[in-house]
């Protein structure tokens, strides 16, 4: 946070300088402390890249192989650093290739600033070469977007973009810049802003609601805290810990809340939702007080809303007012930043413990351990399981690596079996469930935190969706360690076909290429293992290595992820097999 003040101070007072719009854009990025850009050049963004050429010592540009790779990398970067990720693309196809990443970032509250080139202002609307109405296309999947048609707008719009993207509930911003605006000259003067009319990023916490919440917490017998990504976004991990420890509140995490709270903590009860842990799901419908913090009661968490925690009072701490009462009706709503709300709440709650209630979580966990976990983590024989790969990785890295995943069974296995001990260590596509997210996101994470071990877990389906980014990883020698859990299936869909579509495996089995040759062809060294006895050594070798590596692990073809709440099912009726 301190750097921001400095940059704002430094950016504030500078005499106007004459320059092109393209250079002004680069200068604006520097004024906001940007150090890394992910992008792909093309006709309508060429002036910007030409200006960038003079600043390559200050701004690292990562040339990806496809714009989708650029935006997922920017997402990985943004979520690890908690500051906006930057993308450059050209107009038309360059810009439309961002759509999946924008939708993903919108759902997962990720701050991004995507600069898209656009045809000259005089050609707008004429179906010019590589012209797409990007502002309209991206409207429902951006927090804000804007088209710049004159150079002089650039500094002000960029300042606004940075403020909007990273304040309040963060989100993606698209700035579309016509080619003429990149060429034209302006008197450049930059002033960072923290005010945009009509926009209140942090609503003022109403003390009366805090009081009511404290009262419910002090009076409850069977509380359950739902930890969401909002806790990490607001940097409230310490306050969160203090809060739950003081009142002895059991904690369950959403998928994106993972790593904000150490998994070995005595109050941690596991992950919520469809493939989460048994105890928190069952006890959701037994608790008398549910406290959601920085989360949005997504349908993968709640299952059937009509049977979701009907017996409980609900407190919802959430910065986005439109999330309050959207899915689950609250008894007390604190519309505020998580950190601020927790700071106010902590002194008002009484020291407490809920030993008996906590014991019920342990009992339920025992059932899950016996029926599911033990078999996943220590399968007696046969092919390797995804769970044991993740568990071994967790042990070898002591839960201190950054885990990036793609989407599917391997993602759920990673979420369930990696024992997170450090904050900001889990990067996964939650709301949108974007296959192909993992590898490029891992690149962004590697650039944001080069000093930490980074593992990308990916399935054989998702691997092939953004496989071209292995080229980027090799070119920049990014320390991304890829673990490809290969079951020759789109495993999660196959599991659903097995359970809900009478084993009719329609379009889920893959005839895969030789992944070692592919990886090595791109310049990323690789290895394949299929025997349990080789697992530990292979992972350890990978961990000890400096550069990128790809380890293909052949796993059980038809393994399933359990427990499971079927879509639209009741959380307390979670299936163990």
């Amino acid at each position: 946070m301190e750097t921001k003040t400095k940059s704002k101070g430094a950016a504030k007072k500078k005499a106007a300088e004459k320059m092109t719009g393209a250079e002004a854009l680069i200068k604006s990025l520097l004024a906001e402390d940007v150090d890394t850009i992910f992008g792909y050049i093309g006709g309508a963004i060429m002036p910007v890249y030409d200006a960038l050429f003079n600043y390559e010592d200050q701004l690292k540009h990562v040339m990806v192989r496809h714009e989708q790779g650029a935006i997922h990398a920017a997402q990985g970067y943004a979520r690890t650093k908690r500051k906006p990720g930057i993308c450059f693309t050209t107009s038309g196809p360059g810009a439309t290739n961002l759509v999946t990443g924008l939708a993903d970032a919108m759902l997962d509250s990720t701050p991004l600033i995507c600069i898209t080139g656009q045809v000259g202002a005089s050609l707008l609307g004429s179906d010019a070469f590589q012209e797409t109405d990007v502002v309209s296309v991206s409207m429902p999947i951006t927090k804000w977007n804007h088209q710049i048609t004159t150079a002089e707008e650039i500094p002000e719009v960029m300042a606004k973009a940075f403020f909007i993207a990273n304040s309040g509930r963060p989100g993606p911003v698209v700035i579309d810049i016509t080619k003429n605006a990149q060429f034209e000259e302006l008197e450049y003067e930059y002033e960072a802003t923290n005010r945009v009319s009509s926009y209140v990023p942090k609503p003022k916490t109403r003390l009366s609601e805090v009081e009511k919440a404290a009262e419910l917490i002090n009076d409850c017998q069977k509380p359950l805290v739902l930890l969401g990504q909002g806790v990490s976004i607001s940097g409230a991990e310490t306050e969160f810990k203090e809060f739950v420890e003081k009142a002895g509140l059991p904690v369950a995490s959403t998928l994106l809340g993972l790593s904000a709270f150490p998994t070995n903590h005595s109050l941690y009860t596991g992950m919520l939702g469809m493939h989460g842990n048994y105890a928190p799901n069952i006890n959701t419908n037994k608790c008398d007080l549910l406290i959601g913090i920085g989360m949005r009661f997504d349908d993968r968490v709640t299952g059937n809303l009509n049977t979701y925690a009907k017996q409980a009072k609900v407190i919802h701490i959430e910065i986005d007012p439109s999330e309050i009462d959207k899915n689950v009706k609250t008894d007390v709503a604190i519309n505020a930043d998580a950190k601020q709300a927790l700071e106010l709440l902590i002194p008002k709650i009484k020291k407490n413990s809920h030993e008996e209630w906590l014991e019920t979580f342990s009992e339920l966990h025992e059932i899950e351990f016996e029926k599911v976990i033990s078999k996943d983590v220590h399968p007696p024989a046969g092919k390797m399981h995804m769970g044991e790969v993740v568990n071994t990785l967790s042990e070898l890295t002591k839960g201190e690596a950054i885990i990036v995943t793609d989407v599917g069974q391997h993602q759920m296995a990673s979420a369930r079996y990696y024992g997170f001990q450090k904050q900001n260590s889990w990067i996964s596509s939650g709301g949108l469930g974007t296959m192909g997210f993992g590898i490029p996101a891992g690149m962004g994470v590697a650039l944001a935190k080069p000093d930490r071990p980074i593992f990308v877990l990916v399935g054989d389906g998702g691997f092939q969706m953004t496989v071209q980014e292995l080229g980027t990883i090799a070119q920049y020698n990014l320390p991304v360690k890829i673990i490809l859990l290969n079951n020759n299936f789109l495993g999660m869909v196959r599991q659903w076909q097995q359970l809900f579509f009478s084993n009719r495996y329609s379009s889920t089995e893959l005839k895969n290429p030789d992944f070692l040759m592919i990886s090595e062809g791109f310049g990323v060294p690789a290895k394949q293992i299929s025997e349990r006895d080789d697992l530990k050594a292979a992972l350890q070798d990978m961990l000890d290595l400096d550069g990128p590596f790809m380890l293909e692990v052949k796993v059980e073809k038809e393994g399933n992820i359990f427990p499971m709440v079927p879509a639209g099912g009741t959380v307390s009726e979670m299936r163990l097999d």
């Binding site: 502002v135 304040s167 009319s197 003022k204 439109s322 309050i324 009462d325």
Partner: protein, 186 residues
């Protein structure tokens, strides 16, 4: 239970805001019954009036989702009892319809409508009122042959005492506090 709600939305004058508002209805598969926009009593601030039939839970969520868009200052929803509203309708009828006795004339008197223009071939009648009223006149005129008909979107003012200027002041105050806080955090 579905009911008719009138949304009043105050916005800045920015390109694309109409689109940002309408996609929120589209996502929820909600049909907009009527939409009107004009500058409000404050220069540079625009007032959207949107009529939609849906449940209260839905209109509540949609209103919040609209209000959070950048460029939207404030959004409210109201039931019929909470607003004073009006619509305008224009009817183009053949002039010969007036030739048979005084039927049409008495209709116009009865409905408190007025004649805007008289041409040799047609007459344009204007009627302001609620939809039920303008629709009733439509039905009455139908037998004389309506050449063209158009009805405007609803415009509405709220009965509430608190005016938008007071909300805007509050918004400004909130921003100021939020700004100060960002500064202290930094």
């Amino acid at each position: 239970m579905k009911k008719e709600y009138t949304l009043t939305i105050f916005t800045e004058n920015k390109i694309g805001l109409l689109h940002r508002i309408t996609v929120i209805f589209t996502r929820r598969h909600l049909n907009i019954d009527s939409l009107n926009t004009s500058e409000s009593e404050i220069r540079g601030i625009y007032r959207f009036t949107i009529v939609v039939s849906t449940t209260e839970t839905m209109v509540q969520t949609v209103t919040k989702q609209i209000e959070k868009q950048i460029g939207i200052l404030k959004a409210f929803y109201h039931t019929e009892e909470e607003i004073v509203y009006q619509e305008i309708a224009l009817y183009k009828v053949p002039t010969k319809a007036f030739a048979h006795g005084d039927d049409v004339e008495s209709l116009i008197r009865k409905f408190n409508a007025r004649v805007l223009t008289i041409e040799p071939e047609y007459i344009v009648v204007e009627k302001t009122g609620h939809k039920t009223e303008t629709q009733q006149l439509f039905r009455e005129l139908e037998s004389y042959g309506i050449l063209q008909f158009a009805r405007s979107g609803r415009i509405a003012l709220t009965k509430q005492i608190r005016e938008i200027t007071s909300y805007l002041k509050e918004l400004e105050q909130q921003q100021k506090e939020s700004e100060e806080e960002v500064l202290t955090y930094n």
